[in-house]
């Protein structure tokens, strides 16, 4: 869509519709369109290509600078959290593979001791990727698994420990308390750990994602988001509201079910895709 045109109210409403359909949320969409309307007036914008540039720029600004994972420490401890079915276990498999490719020694911890075959699932990934896995019996204390994994990381000279946790809905107070216990145990072992608390968020999720980010952040201090299933038709626009309100950066995106289907987040690409 390029060329010159009068940007009337219908045009701005269409833009608002596209944003909302991308799960950006009504308030954030209105904020972006209002800013754009002002920019069009001030800068006397007459061409659609210029207008989309300005809009993409304000989206990129809202998302904040692209930030890498905090893996400077040795061992770096990454705790992976999120609601049921978001893609945590699969993302851990992909991430372990990525670190291995970088020549790092990785340990993954089967911290979901509850769900049927959760440990088996992570074990398949460990074998696929060629990393060590720390696991206990099904039904055991997830905090004990985390503790065990950090000890193993130290004694085996690992560079990264990635800790899987069971999916949980953020309104389940007792489950959020359990997660806090895992966090406490990790933190007691190393006051700088976990160095990264990755919230795994399904791109098909609607506005409830804001509440997910808020509650998980309050509970265990989320430092980054892995946005999964972007290979579908959902846009994941909820991360705009999350960046705006909670300042949590998106660090990774999942684009498929294979071991290579993990990429660093690119704000400009993401902004462009909202209008594709």
């Amino acid at each position: 869509v390029s060329g010159k045109r009068e940007f009337d109210e219908d045009f701005f409403e269409e833009l608002e519709e596209i944003l909302v359909q991308g799960d950006v949320g009504v308030n954030t969409a209105l904020e972006l369109v209002d800013r754009l309307r002002d920019a069009v007036k001030e800068q006397k914008i007459k061409e659609t290509e210029r207008l989309y540039q300005v809009l993409e720029q304000s989206i990129v600004e809202m998302l904040g600078e692209d930030q890498p994972l905090n893996v400077g420490a040795k061992p770096s401890v990454i705790m992976v959290v999120g609601v049921n079915g978001a893609g945590k276990t699969t993302t851990i498999g992909k991430l372990a593979h990525q670190f291995k490719d970088q020549g790092k020694r990785v340990i993954i911890a089967a911290g979901d001791t509850f769900r049927a075959a959760a440990i088996d699932q992570l074990e398949v990934w460990a074998n696929r990727v060629g990393t060590q896995i720390i696991k206990h019996q099904e039904g055991s204390d997830p905090a004990a698994v985390a503790f065990d994994a950090i000890q193993a990381a130290r004694s085996r000279n690992a560079d990264v420990v990635i800790i899987d946790t069971a999916g949980r809905l953020q309104n389940k107070t007792n489950l959020m308390k359990e997660l806090q216990k895992v966090h406490r145990v990790i933190n007691r072992e190393d006051p700088a750990a976990p160095h990264e608390v990755l919230l795994v968020l399904d791109a098909t999720t609607g506005q409830n994602a804001i509440s997910q980010a808020k509650v998980f952040k309050e509970a265990v201090g989320v430092t980054g988001i892995a946005l999964t299933k972007l290979d579908g038709t959902a846009k994941g626009g909820v991360v705009l509201g999350i960046a705006n309100e909670l300042k949590i950066p998106v660090k990774l995106i999942g684009v498929g079910e294979g071991v290579e289907d993990l990429r660093p987040f690119d704000a400009e690409e993401f902004a462009r895709a909202l209008f594709a």
């Binding site: 359909q21 009504v26 049927a116 098909t204 609607g206 409830n208 959902a234």
Partner: protein, 292 residues
């Protein structure tokens, strides 16, 4: 929620005296916002609000002493009607076994729901057979087998080297020979835009002619719910929907979107991780939840 917002809107409007049609149209903005915030699809909201507006500019609202309450009443009625009466009945085959196929996106809750559904059917006096049709996801077969053990219900599997079509056919044969009158086929999660995997579902359907093809949808799904439901419905012909993770605090507007775009009844609601956490879907309760 919406009730309070409408009260506020109508207080301001009534302050000027008699309510006009234009005033009611202003109030519709609150309804629209509430539905969008609840994740109801943008286009579904447009159609729904214009329906509500048609009724709301009638005398029942304009002449009412409590116009806000009248509008809420209309919205609730329209929502409940749209989402359909309670119909959690599984369509039973004239000649057993009844074959049920669960389909949907990755992580929606199909495998867990398969176990829950088998549990419900057993309590209704049926003899269900669970079928491990996901040959792709790591430990998917094991997951269903563990659920089967927990329920003390049989799980049919040919391992992960046989095609899901072959597994489904063999399962139905097995059911006939072992007196299982219900067959519940768990399938792998897939994207509605994955042509190959969508074709696989069509192939399974062609081969075992399911009596029910149920789309399993995560209640927290956003605007994309419409695309997913529409595509699955066009390619397979759905007979129903199961909404999962309703024990969360999402408003669940996806329920309205899915129903509006497919016309399929939402038969069950998943309300927890345990195998007893499946209830019949209550459209009136859902309406209240969506409105917030």
């Amino acid at each position: 929620g919406l009730a309070e917002k409408l009260q506020g809107t109508f207080q301001k409007l009534k302050g000027k005296g008699k309510l006009s049609e234009a005033d009611v149209k202003k109030a519709m903005r609150e309804v629209r916002l509430a539905l969008l915030e609840a994740d109801v699809n943008y286009k579904v909201v447009k159609d729904f609000v214009s329906k509500v507006q048609e009724r709301a500019v009638g005398q029942e609202v304009l002449k009412s002493l409590t116009p806000a309450q009248q509008v809420i009443k209309i919205v609730n009625e329209e929502l409940t009607n749209l989402m359909g009466g309670e119909q959690s009945k599984i369509k039973i085959a004239s000649k057993p076994p009844t074959v049920i196929m669960l389909v949907g996106l990755q992580g929606a809750g199909k495998t867990t729901t398969a176990g829950k559904l088998a549990n419900v059917l057993r309590k209704q006096g049926r003899r269900p057979l669970l079928v491990a049709g996901d040959i792709y996801r790591p430990a998917a077969i094991k997951q269903l087998q563990v659920l089967g053990e927990q329920l003390d219900l049989p799980v049919f599997s040919l391992g992960d080297k046989q095609s899901p079509v072959n597994i489904a056919r063999a399962a139905v044969e097995h059911a006939k020979n072992h007196g299982n009158d219900m067959v519940i086929i768990d399938t792998a999660g897939r994207l509605h835009v994955d042509e190959e995997l969508m074709q696989e579902l069509s192939d399974i359907k062609e081969n075992v002619e399911p009596d029910e093809i149920l789309l399993v949808v995560d209640a927290m799904t956003g605007q994309d719910a419409v695309n997913v439901a529409q595509t699955f419905n066009e390619q397979l012909g759905l007979t129903g929907v199961i909404l999962t993770k309703l024990d969360g605090d999402t408003r669940g507007g996806a329920a309205l979107s899915v129903k509006a775009v497919t016309g399929c009844p939402i038969k069950y609601a998943g309300v927890g991780e345990k195998l007893d956490a499946l209830e019949p879907f209550h459209p009136d309760r859902m309406a209240g939840r969506i409105l917030g």
